[in-house]
């Protein structure tokens, strides 16, 4: 970690570390991307039935640095027509480190006009998020992002 040069900042960070030792203030956790764990793989298998998942078409937007893991804005867009004969049928979003791998399934059809959905999600830790789109021709497309969740300072005591 780079040593801050400003003296009052150094003092302050020292304070934060001391407090964390007391258990008062959680520290920032930054992890590298990890391999896909078995639970995530199983959840994806449930949706795809083992079919190949290609990378592409799907855009998964999540702030790269999250202010609070309780409420993380997320938008998934699939660059694909929404015509009766050729459209996006569903979008499935997964995570690898929450207690459960599923986040949401969105069921769409040609009447949606645009395959784009937004919601807010919970992330227990920095981790990989995967979005998979199922098209009407039965093919699967995906995108994934690594999100860094910085735990807030001065969090409230657990009641």
């Amino acid at each position: 970690m780079q040593q801050p040069t400003n003296s009052s900042r150094r003092k302050f960070l020292g304070l934060a570390g001391g407090a964390a030792a007391l258990g008062a203030l959680p520290v920032v956790i930054i992890r590298p991307a990890e391999a896909t764990p078995a639970m995530l793989a199983a959840a994806i298998q449930n949706v795809t039935g083992g079919a190949a998942v290609r990378t592409g078409k799907v855009k998964l937007e999540i702030p790269p640095l999250v202010e609070n893991g309780n409420t993380v804005p997320m938008t998934v867009t699939v660059a694909h027509p929404m015509a009766p004969e050729d459209h996006v049928r569903s979008i499935h979003v997964f995570n690898e480190k929450n207690p459960q791998p599923n986040i949401a399934n969105f069921h769409l059809g040609p009447h949606n006009g645009r395959a784009q959905v937004s919601t807010r999600i919970r992330l227990a830790d920095s981790q990989k998020i995967v979005a998979i789109a199922k098209l009407s021709d039965g093919s699967f497309w995906s995108a994934s992002v690594d999100v860094v969740v910085t735990l807030a300072a001065c969090t409230e005591e657990v009641i």
Binding site: N98, F106, H107, V117, R120
Partner: protein
């Protein structure tokens, strides 16, 4: 008390792709939290959100505990005719709420 906020344009031109935004008040208790005495707080979440237009389903979401409290869901639809959007949230412990919004399509 359960409130919902729905954002649907009041008017649209036929063929326009419009965005629909919904916000529903709900605690979305994950079922993975413990009280100070170590007991699990039972799961209490919305499990399904459905939007119908003039009676036909146009969008549906399955929700899991990873969806934040007070679920916010947005999606798009093509304006085809005037009519009514009906929204339905269903969840644990018999949770069931509805809301509706009308649109005038020219």
């Amino acid at each position: 008390m359960a409130s919902a906020l729905i954002n649907v344009p009041a008017k649209a031109k036929r063929g326009d792709i419009i965005e629909i935004k919904t916000l529903m008040s709900h605690i979305m208790e994950t079922g993975y939290r413990h009280t100070a005495s170590g007991e699990i707080v039972p799961r209490n979440i919305i499990t399904s959100f459905t939007c119908r237009f003039n009676g036909n389903e146009i969008f549906r979401t399955d929700l899991f505990p990873a969806i934040s409290a007070n679920p916010f869901i947005t999606f798009f639809t093509t304006a085809t005719e005037s009519g009514k959007f009906e929204f339905e949230w269903i969840g644990d412990r018999g949770f069931s709420e509805t809301a509706s919004a009308s649109i005038s399509v020219e």
